[in-house]
């Protein structure tokens, strides 16, 4: 079997609480396997252990028990991070650096230099749509722009795995849509994406696999379409259907022992309405 992008086996993390008898168990006996090239959503309410799991995978926190691997390498080893790019929740980068300087700084940390680093910074500024503001300090960036420069720094060394902690938290619908499109683009390029979120509608749009954590325990796990499919129901969406046609379909269904449960006009999403109304502006200036 080829190496999984991420393997988590028997992971438990206990945080001792001073002056309290009961320590906090953030993650309990967690097992995960994320295949290369898929978008995996780690979902759950606040405090369910998502961020702790991500931090352990990134070697920022050590596990109490269990083991995590990235492409077959123990994730507590610094070398394993060559294959990973990370965007933390609500990231604050050094505000005194410009967008371009930020990418160059993180690129140097990954061993890039010279023309190779310049090229990568140019490509990524283009990819995240920040070329026009590359020379502006981050203190003048909006939250959406910060999130995009954060994603760019995560990609600077061409990682095979990108870990995103609440990538769209606090970002407006337009910024959120940009990030979602970027994630879809990453998947198209064969990059594995592990993201944590509690924005379920978004996760539903982009994730192949999801795992739901509650109180540090993985309560559901599997392919998204299998998890949310309702076995005995089928949806038909018709265009230009007259009432008479729908009545005939209903009659046909009834004669076949099926039942028409809902009959309503298709609607757009509130997000689509918002984006169309605001013309989906990209923060390019």
């Amino acid at each position: 079997m080829s190496d999984a992008a991420v393997t988590v086996s028997g992971l438990t993390k206990v945080f001792p609480v001073p002056f309290h008898r009961e320590p906090v168990i953030a993650v309990r006996n967690l097992d995960l396997r994320i295949e290369p090239g898929e978008v995996y959503g780690l979902l759950g309410p606040n405090g369910s252990g998502k961020s702790t799991t991500l931090k352990i995978i990134l070697g920022l926190v050590s596990p109490t028990r269990g083991r995590t691997e990235i492409f077959g390498r123990d994730s507590s080893l610094v070398e394993s991070r060559e294959a990973v790019g990370f965007l933390p929740e609500n990231p604050y980068f050094y505000k005194y650096l410009t967008g371009e300087e930020t990418l160059r700084f993180f690129g140097k940390l990954c061993g890039l230099s010279g023309s190779r680093l310049r090229e990568r910074a140019d490509q990524l500024l283009e990819l995240v749509g920040l070329t026009n503001v590359r020379s502006r300090r981050l203190s003048t960036y909006s939250k959406g722009m910060l999130q995009r420069i954060g994603l760019a720094q995560a990609l600077i060394h061409e990682p095979k795995l990108v870990v995103l902690d609440e990538p769209t938290a606090g970002v407006d619908p337009a910024g959120s849509c940009d990030i979602r499109n970027l994630i879809v683009d990453l998947k198209r390029r064969g990059i594995t994406v592990l993201l944590s979120s509690h924005l379920l509608a978004q996760a539903q749009e982009i994730c192949d696999h999801v795992g739901i954590l509650a109180n540090g325990v993985l309560v559901r796990e599997g392919r998204l379409e299998e998890l949310i499919a309702i076995e005995n129901r089928t949806e038909l969406v018709l265009e230009n259907a007259s009432d008479a046609l729908v009545d005939r379909i209903n009659a046909l269904a009834t004669s076949s022992n099926a039942k028409l449960i809902a009959r309503r006009r298709s609607t757009t999403t509130l997000e689509r309405l918002f984006l169309d109304a605001t013309n989906n502006p990209k923060e390019k200036s």
Binding site: E79, H157, E158, R189
Partner: protein, 300 residues
């Protein structure tokens, strides 16, 4: 984008390029701090104003100038070392920038070393600026006194004039000032490394600064306390071990105070300078390793 981490050299367990990237970034961060400029201007004003202080003879004038200037340099660099270093790691943790840095293939030891060398560079720059100001003031005053003496003694015999000029030169600018400046710098390096160590387990900047101020005072007093202790107690191995532990936690900062000898124009023995330099480097290295050790096990 390819499916490989292309174009990047194989990971090395220690990379000067990575440390240098963190160092230059830390230096940029620190030079953005207003406190740095306020302290520097204050120290420069103090050095400059020492020219106008009361004096009776040129020896006294040069003594006061050196005393005030070296004192200002010592206090300023010590304060800067503590204030600048105390915020570095807690700020990075609070802003979560530390996550982004350590999620890259950067060993924690390199992060600590990069941060510290950023502070040491800042201290070097401020030390150079202050030394240049101090030496310029001293040189200008020396030239003024030389001209005045020449004018007053124009009728005196040649030998007498030469003796007077030699006396002025030896009490003003002389080579013994340089080791004094180096040792003030080393003391600041030691304090920066110790502050970094304290900040790896402190929860707030204020805690780190308060602990460092206490260590600073105890560090200056501990030599006296140790002598008193040794007079009162036996010198068994337990006493020595205890004193060694105290000396590790509270470095003997009085050892780095050679200003008094320099002020009176006394030559500092080379052996003493070498010993103090080795002690400064030793303490700085030990504290850096301790900081790296604590930070290595820290849950972020």
């Amino acid at each position: 984008m390819s499916n490989k981490t292309a174009g990047i050299n194989r990971h090395r367990s220690f990379s000067l390029a990575r440390v240098f990237a963190i160092t230059t970034n830390t230096l940029t961060e620190l030079t953005r701090l207003k406190v740095f400029y306020i302290l520097l201007i204050f120290a420069l004003l103090l050095i400059g104003s020492s020219v106008f202080m009361a004096r009776l003879t040129f020896q006294q004038e040069f003594q006061i100038l050196k005393d005030v200037s070296l004192g200002a340099m010592s206090i300023f660099t010590s304060l800067l070392a503590i204030i600048a270093t105390a915020r570095l790691i807690p700020q990075d943790i609070e802003d979560r920038t530390v996550y982004t840095i350590l999620a890259k293939p950067v060993p924690r030891f390199e992060y600590i070393v990069g941060k510290l060398t950023g502070v040491l560079l800042l201290l070097s720059i401020s030390m150079l600026v202050m030394s240049a100001m101090f030496l310029a003031v001293l040189y200008l005053r020396e030239q003024t006194v030389l001209h005045e003496t020449l004018r007053q003694m124009s009728a005196a015999p040649r030998e007498q004039i030469d003796d007077a000029l030699r006396a002025i030169r030896s009490s003003a600018l002389n080579i013994d000032i340089l080791p004094g400046i180096v040792i003030i710098y080393l003391k600041a390096c030691l304090l920066a490394a110790l502050t970094l160590f304290v900040s790896t387990f402190a929860t707030t900047n204020i805690f780190t600064i308060v602990v460092m101020v206490v260590i600073y005072f105890i560090g200056h007093l501990q030599a006296t306390a140790r002598e008193y202790w040794l007079q009162e107690h036996s010198t068994g191995w337990m006493t020595r071990a205890f004193l060694a532990l105290v000396a590790l936690i509270f470095p003997d900062l009085q050892t780095f105070n050679l200003v008094d000898d320099i002020v009176v124009g006394a030559a500092i023995p080379l052996g003493l300078v070498a010993k103090t330099v080795v002690l400064g480097v030793f303490y700085t290295t030990i504290y850096t390793f301790l900081a790296a050790f604590v930070f290595y096990g820290k849950e972020l």
